[in-house]
């Protein structure tokens, strides 16, 4: 019964995306990263390839793929560039999914086709300056007045939310409950260009320098009552459930990024000579490479199992969290070894491993830090 074969379509998808990443992303990844440029052109090319809305029903313009295919795609892009993988993973899991899962038919028909084609991007506005891991502590408020939500507050670190393709954001806001009352949290759709809504691109990041990260400000932003996404008061569980699936994408970035750094290190270790032989013939280096290969394989298997559980519609949340935690920490160890193997050159941005080293760190922080994953997993264990 146990079978590790990918389907023919999954094999072809992996090959196509690897090809695309090698030919279209690799030649520009360094330049975009150095200049902190979010590339509209590359994003649109990824849209044409079908990289957005991968798990959305074709009737809304999506590709109708399963979670495993989605993760294979993210993995292959991250193998070449974590920044473009961030654009893809955030868009699919965070931008598109909440609208697809909880949107009304009207909302879905209005937004999804343009998001699935990559004509537009969408942000997921959960994190606030004072509410990150503790995302239930949102301060952003939305008050219903005369058939409109009036929103005030701020969000930070929102991917894909401040570029010329951004169509809007889903905002988590407090919609009721004061003082001793339990807070009521809901999600509201805010389109780009709504008066009072400002999105500012954030720069000088260590990680994901060519991915678009935004600070959002809401000053008396008025949107129609019908912009409520899902049920009033159900916003927080919706966001958490979005993150459960989103974690698979982060895990895929860990596996792919680790793979990319490992391949670079292996290739270098075979040609770099010290003391009269290639450094991969020194046991200390050879054993590092062996450890890297083992850990990547283990992380990949855990990720694929989590995807399999989800695709079989079995409970997958614990495994998704495990895969996210493990893959991001495996990538941490792998990039660390990779830089060590490159020696001084590993610290130079001209060589590929420095960027993998920098891009890794987000994976232990975003969509639930490693600490938060350990909380999630231990709760599944009954702690």
């Amino acid at each position: 019964m146990l079978n590790f074969d990918l389907t023919d379509e999954q094999e072809m998808l992996r090959k196509t995306i690897r090809d695309f990443a090698e030919k279209e992303i690799k030649p520009v990844r360094q330049k975009l990263d150095e200049s902190e440029t979010f590339s509209i052109e590359l994003t649109q090319k990824m849209g044409q390839l079908g990289l957005f809305g991968m798990q959305v029903d074709p009737k809304y313009g999506g590709q109708g793929l399963d979670s495993l295919s989605y993760c294979l795609a993210v993995e292959e892009i991250a193998r070449v560039d974590g920044c473009q993988a961030a654009t893809v993973a955030a868009e699919n899991a965070l931008g598109i999914m909440p609208i697809y899962r909880w949107g009304t038919e009207e909302q879905k028909e209005k937004y999804l086709p343009k998001l699935c084609s990559g004509e537009q991007l969408w942000g997921f506005g959960l994190t606030e300056p004072e509410a990150g891991s503790d995302a239930g502590n949102s301060k952003t408020r939305a008050v219903l007045k005369d058939g409109h939500w009036v929103i005030n507050g701020a969000k930070i670190f929102i991917t894909n939310a401040a570029n010329e393709l951004t169509g809007g954001v889903t905002v988590q806001a407090v919609t009721g409950g004061d003082g001793d009352q339990k807070k009521e949290i809901s999600c509201i759709i805010v389109e780009a260009g709504t008066p009072g809504f400002t999105a500012r691109e954030m720069h000088h990041k260590l990680t994901w320098r060519s991915s678009n990260t935004a600070e959002l400000y809401f000053e008396d932003v008025k949107v129609p009552e019908s912009n409520l996404l899902g049920s009033r008061g159900k916003g927080f569980p919706m966001m958490l459930s979005t993150l459960d699936s989103g974690r698979l994408g982060i895990a895929a970035m860990g596996v792919g990024g680790a793979q990319g750094a490992f391949e670079a290190a292996l290739e270098y270790a075979k040609v770099r000579q010290t003391f009269g032989k290639p450094i991969c013939k020194h046991q200390a280096i050879a054993f590092k490479l062996a450890d890297m290969a083992v850990e990547i394989e283990a992380a990949r298997n855990l990720l694929y199992k989590a995807c399999w559980l989800k695709d079989q519609e079995k409970p997958f949340e614990k495994h998704a969290s495990m895969a996210k935690l493990f893959a991001s920490e495996v990538m941490n160890r792998v990039v660390n070894h990779a830089v060590q193997i490159y020696g001084g050159y590993g610290l130079m941005e001209e060589y590929p491993v420095a960027k993998f080293f920098r891009d890794q760190k987000l994976l232990e922080i975003g969509e639930g830090s490693s600490e938060v994953q350990r909380i999630v997993i231990s709760r599944h264990l009954g702690c």
Binding site: D8, E9, M12, L13, T16, D19, G50, M54, Q63, A73
Partner: protein, 256 residues
């Protein structure tokens, strides 16, 4: 228009080729196979022709073992409509027999135009399309650089040595051998990949198509080219190096 495109499956250009110990062929173990790169230009040209001529249909034909179907699926994922796989039944056909079988299929299908790569990158024979054209009494233009088709006629440009170009005007049906630079092959899109699985692939047998043609070529032995001797690096003063270089070119390489 009925458009045909010939696709050959070849070892990946990045594969390290190993010859079987008995020299009878290539060791296929662990070899990855791909669509021959020049054939990708042919697929793209076929798709462009389809897009420019409403109501057209592109059929892929590939001759080889059953693994060819993977390459056929790639062509279908790029946007071709249907396919014919010609099973070589392990017969190891040479260019002559291959062309006989393909010509039969092309004739039966009644294509208006057929595209193929200018050569396959495995054996680099570069003669199947010309043979096919000959058997069908069709015009052919190889190493195609530009093509315009309208109302049953084609204007084809090919590069010749010295930077000159030859321009042909011909009547369809015809066969064109595509070269790099003709177009930029598209990627198989994700929706394309999903659709490819439900597109029809018909399987034919080479023995039913080749008539009484038999191989004219016999493979007697495969071997790797001899390893190149390592280059020499000269050292010392530049003036001395130049003298030494000239001496080596004259006395050892005997090229001066």
């Amino acid at each position: 228009m009925k458009i045909g495109v010939l696709v050959k499956q070849v070892p990946d250009t990045e594969t390290k080729i190993k010859v079987l110990d008995d020299g009878s062929g290539i060791d296929e173990n662990g070899v990855k196979f791909i669509v021959s790169p020049y054939d990708e230009f042919a697929i793209e040209e076929a798709l462009k022709t389809k897009e420019a001529n409403a109501g057209s249909e592109v059929t892929v034909a590939s001759l080889g073992p059953s693994r060819c179907v993977e390459s056929i699926r790639t062509a279908l994922a790029m946007g071709c409509d249907k396919a014919i796989h010609i099973d070589d039944e392990g017969s190891g056909p040479d260019s002559y027999v291959t062309a006989k079988a393909l010509a039969k299929v092309i004739g039966d299908q009644g294509f208006d135009v057929v595209f193929c790569g200018k050569q396959a990158i495995d054996d680099d024979m570069g003669q199947v399309p010309q043979l096919v054209a000959e058997f069908l009494a069709w015009p052919q233009v190889m190493i195609l650089e530009n093509l315009e088709i309208s109302e049953g006629k084609a204007k084809a440009t090919r590069r010749v040595s010295g930077g000159a170009k030859e321009v042909y005007e011909l009547t369809l049906p015809a066969i064109f051998g595509c070269d790099k630079g003709l177009n930029t092959p598209r990627y198989a899109s994700l929706p394309g990949i999903m659709k490819a699985k439900s597109k029809p692939v018909e399987t034919l047998k080479i023995s039913d198509l080749k008539g009484d043609a038999n191989n004219k070529l016999e493979y007697s032995n495969f071997r790797m080219p001899p390893e190149k001797a390592p280059g020499k690096v000269l050292s010392g003063e530049v003036g001395d190096q130049v003298k030494e270089l000239v001496r080596l070119l004259r006395e050892e390489a005997k090229v001066l």
